[in-house]
């Protein structure tokens, strides 16, 4: 799993959770909340979909690591690698 693949996977999840958002122009370094209309319910769903689809656990204390696509990739990629 590369960081790019990891970003794509997070985008896939967001597009299922929030199909009404345009994800084509999302800037990876900018906080997701600042460019998309995502609330705490949506972030909970990102965490839950990560667990459901990929068996990746994100403890509540680490939710802030999911702020942007880049921070998601930094945080999640090692988790995917450990799993594989």
């Amino acid at each position: 799993m590369t960081k790019d693949e990891c970003r794509k996977l997070v985008i896939d999840i967001i597009s299922d959770i929030a199909p009404d958002e345009d994800l084509t122009t999302v800037k990876p370094e900018v906080r997701l909340r600042d460019q998309l209309q995502l609330d705490s319910m949506d972030f909970l769903d990102i965490v839950m979909e990560l667990r459901k689809r990929h068996g990746i656990e994100v403890p509540e204390a680490d939710y802030t690591q999911l702020a942007s696509l880049d921070s998601c990739a930094d945080y999640l990629t090692p988790k995917f690698q450990t799993k594989a």
């Binding site: 299922d16 929030a18 009404d20 609330d39 319910m41 839950m48 656990e57």
Partner: protein, 473 residues
């Protein structure tokens, strides 16, 4: 018995129970919904009579916003349940109206219409009105731990004209208040947004469209559903709901139990019982609704512009338990034909009238008297409502009439189990859904998010808050 244990058991297959079930099943919980009735939908359901399908409960879905408007309850609900907006096939209302003796306030799904009506008819109230709207817009109405406040008191800080105040309260109360004469401010805000800032819509085929979508999502997610099999009792052990006794005599167990049947109704299922707490928070407001089916659409008689009319002709709007069987002084008219169906149209004309009623008086009637009173009040209610509509003679309507039907507080009690036929449930809501048992939570009417969108969001919120957020690895 291995197969009778669930991660979560849900009592009631209404909007809130189904929504909670979808969330839990989607995230891999083993979940079962137990419903006593043979039809899903709870307080918002439908039935067939002589080959005709009737909606019960729902006049219009509130909280309607056009596609593209984000951050409102409808959008949150669609996302959380992974529902495509198209699936609900919502058609917006034409226009609605609050009709009091000498004053009309029109409103549509465009808030500017109501805003202009208020500032034109009540110019002296314009500043207060703007401040009230601002307060409503910024109020956190979905907070699960907000302190209750009287809506009458908060509104009175901004509006001083009793007529305007009553006119604004009338629809808000009729569409959701379980409390007489006043309501909790958070509840007022939810309804103000749902009715005035957002709006009304309906699928052409009525509430069954929405119920079908929910059932299908629940099934696809792997949820289990047992119809005609209610929960007859909740057995408490060490502060937990340990065992659920079902109507068929069997028993099941669950890590979590979500009850959508109401606060006092849930307490009464529990053994040991909690009679005093149940008694102290049982609703008193019930309703009658008449429905008349005509060959022609209501537009035939000039009833074409109004979707919903909230009427009142008493000096002070009195939202309280009816003293007689029915209080026809105020009520709600709904014309299901008058939505923007974009090509489609209902096959017959429908005219619905809803008024406040008295459960105890209806419940005490012997059967022949019950039928006679139904017939009598059907006429009385329609006469009262027609004062607020363009005139048409009795003879013309009678010639066109195909059939009528009516529900009373007795019907509500029978089909929903709500004590006192109280559609909007207990006067004091339990926002965090917690009960005296650590794994038993409330959702739906008595959790306090109102309307059908509110009901679904309630199920979602309670499933998220009590179960999904807490379940770790």
């Amino acid at each position: 018995m291995k197969d009778s244990h669930y991660d979560a058991a849900i009592i009631g297959a209404g909007m809130s129970g189904l929504a909670a079930g979808i969330r839990l099943a989607h995230f891999g919980k083993k979940v079962c919904i137990f419903e006593r009735h043979n039809a899903p939908g709870g307080l918002n359901s439908f039935y067939s009579l002589a080959g005709r399908k009737y909606d019960v409960g729902l006049h219009a879905m509130t909280n309607y916003v056009p596609p593209g408007v984000k951050g409102t309850p409808l959008g949150k609900l669609l996302r959380q349940l992974r529902i495509d907006r198209e699936e609900f096939a919502l058609c917006p209302q034409k226009r609605s109206r609050v009709a009091f003796r000498d004053c009309d306030l029109k409103f549509t799904n465009d808030f500017a219409v109501l805003d202009a009506e208020v500032t034109t008819r009540f110019p002296a109230q314009a500043d207060g009105w703007r401040m009230l709207v601002q307060l409503v817009r910024t109020y956190d109405d979905v907070s699960l731990d907000a302190k209750p406040a009287s809506a009458r008191e908060v509104v009175a800080r901004h509006l001083t004209d009793p007529l305007l105040t009553d006119m604004l309260f009338c629809p808000v109360m009729y569409y959701g208040s379980a409390q007489e004469r006043d309501m909790e401010f958070g509840q007022f805000v939810i309804m103000f947004k749902a009715l005035y800032l957002e709006g009304f819509a309906r699928p052409l085929d009525g509430v069954r469209v929405i119920i079908r979508v929910l059932l299908e999502k629940f099934r696809q997610a792997g949820g289990e559903r047992r119809m005609k099999c209610g929960v007859a009792g909740i057995i408490e052990e060490q502060g937990r709901a340990a065992v659920l006794k079902l109507d068929d005599g069997t028993e099941i167990t669950a890590d979590h139990v979500i009850s959508s049947v109401g606060y006092p109704e849930t307490l009464r299922l529990c053994s040991p019982g909690h009679e005093a707490e149940a008694e102290a928070n049982t609703g008193a407001l019930s309703f009658v609704e008449t429905i008349s089916v005509y060959r022609q659409p209501p537009a035939t008689w000039g009833w074409r512009e109004d979707t919903i009319i909230f009427f009142n002709d008493s000096e002070l709007f009195d939202y309280s338990r009816a003293q007689e069987l029915v209080d026809p002084r105020s009520g709600v008219i709904c014309f299901p034909n008058n939505f923007e169906y974009a090509g489609g149209q209902l096959p017959e004309g429908l005219f619905r009238v809803t008024c406040l009623a008295n459960y105890a008086k209806w419940a005490a009637l012997p059967e022949p008297g019950y039928q006679a009173e139904k017939a009598r009040w059907l006429g009385e209610m329609q006469r009262s409502a027609r004062r607020f509509l363009p005139p048409v003679t009795d003879a013309v309507l009678a010639e066109n009439l195909v059939t009528t039907d009516m529900f009373t507080p007795r019907t509500i009690r029978k089909f929903t189990g709500h004590l006192n036929g109280a559609i909007y449930g207990a006067p004091r809501k339990v926002r965090d859904g917690r009960t005296h048992l650590s794994n038993l939570y409330l959702c739906g009417t008595d959790q306090g998010f109102l309307g059908i969108i509110g009901a679904m969001l309630s199920g979602i919120s309670m499933a998220n808050y009590h179960i999904l957020q807490k379940s770790g690895t």
